[in-house]
Symmetry: D3
Subunit: 69 residues, 6 copies
């Protein structure tokens, strides 16, 4: 499946914090930067996410803001 989302960043799952409905998943990119994601607990299970597993962080371009110093 090919997706319209313009941002697809490959990395590795380094931490999963489960809640009742949502879970927090942290992806580490090759350069060491970390991306934090909140997805449903059921998605964590259906994707079989585990620490150490390869995964992509996916973000729609309209959800990216820009900041400057």
């Amino acid at each position: 499946m090919k997706l319209s989302a313009r941002n697809v960043l490959k990395g590795k799952v380094v931490k999963i914090t489960p809640g009742a409905v949502n879970s927090e998943v942290v992806i580490e990119l090759p350069g060491g930067a970390q991306i934090v994601s909140i997805i449903t607990k059921e998605s964590v299970e259906s994707l079989g996410l585990k620490e150490g597993k390869e995964a992509y962080a996916v973000v729609k371009a309209s959800n990216v803001m820009i900041a400057v110093d």
Copy 2:
């Protein structure tokens, strides 16, 4: 100003495509990955964004999805 958004990635503006209301801004991260953002044309102007300028891509954690192969 310190923001609740968990994802703040430093990079450099490499491309700006203006529209009537929204503009597309591409940020290149140090490792070479690119982040595409859609923000209002007025924000591009008020932040003084220009190609070559340092900037941050900012994403709220609830807007990050995860994918696996």
Copy 3:
């Protein structure tokens, strides 16, 4: 690629309205309901979207609101 987004609805592209940066894409579901999407013009091109083509509307669960009469 398998995605964490919980809502993936199969349909057919029935209309594409291009803008300078964003385009509006309408997907018709089998029952006749229509889903309207705003994605970047570049995504419309990279996915090869055309009227009549099969496609999926994809929505993260945290972006779905509920209403009652």
Copy 4:
């Protein structure tokens, strides 16, 4: 109240999973497709949502992505 959101899909609540802050609500459309929504627990209560009740899934067009096989 008439809303700018372009996607308003009528269905029936088939499942509610409560958490401390957010709840997951599943709406089944007439054709059998299901839409998953994450809203605050307080919204579930103020709307009086219950399994079997009619409700609408509402999505802003800019939050709909497109995918192709």
Copy 5:
């Protein structure tokens, strides 16, 4: 129609900037604060939005970030 979105702020339309696909709508709240919204051009038309008209700015709680000085 009653909506799950927790933030519904009443004000008056003070400016509309149309684009090919999206339009920018500015709502002024009673206290003078302004809220900027990007919605589709078609929604501006179907809601009959005009400068001076009363309208509500509506935001899902999961789309509100917090910042501190």
Copy 6:
């Protein structure tokens, strides 16, 4: 840091409801209107949010819908 988000509303934290992963934060604006936000529990801690503290509600323009009576 200057942000592209067009909506930055100053107020005071009046209520924090913590969950396992996300927390609900209510900001009261000077005129008495309240803004409800869902952010991660870790952001509440890293920003040092407490009831009575000044804070800003921040919303990207593309996440604001419009409604009329």
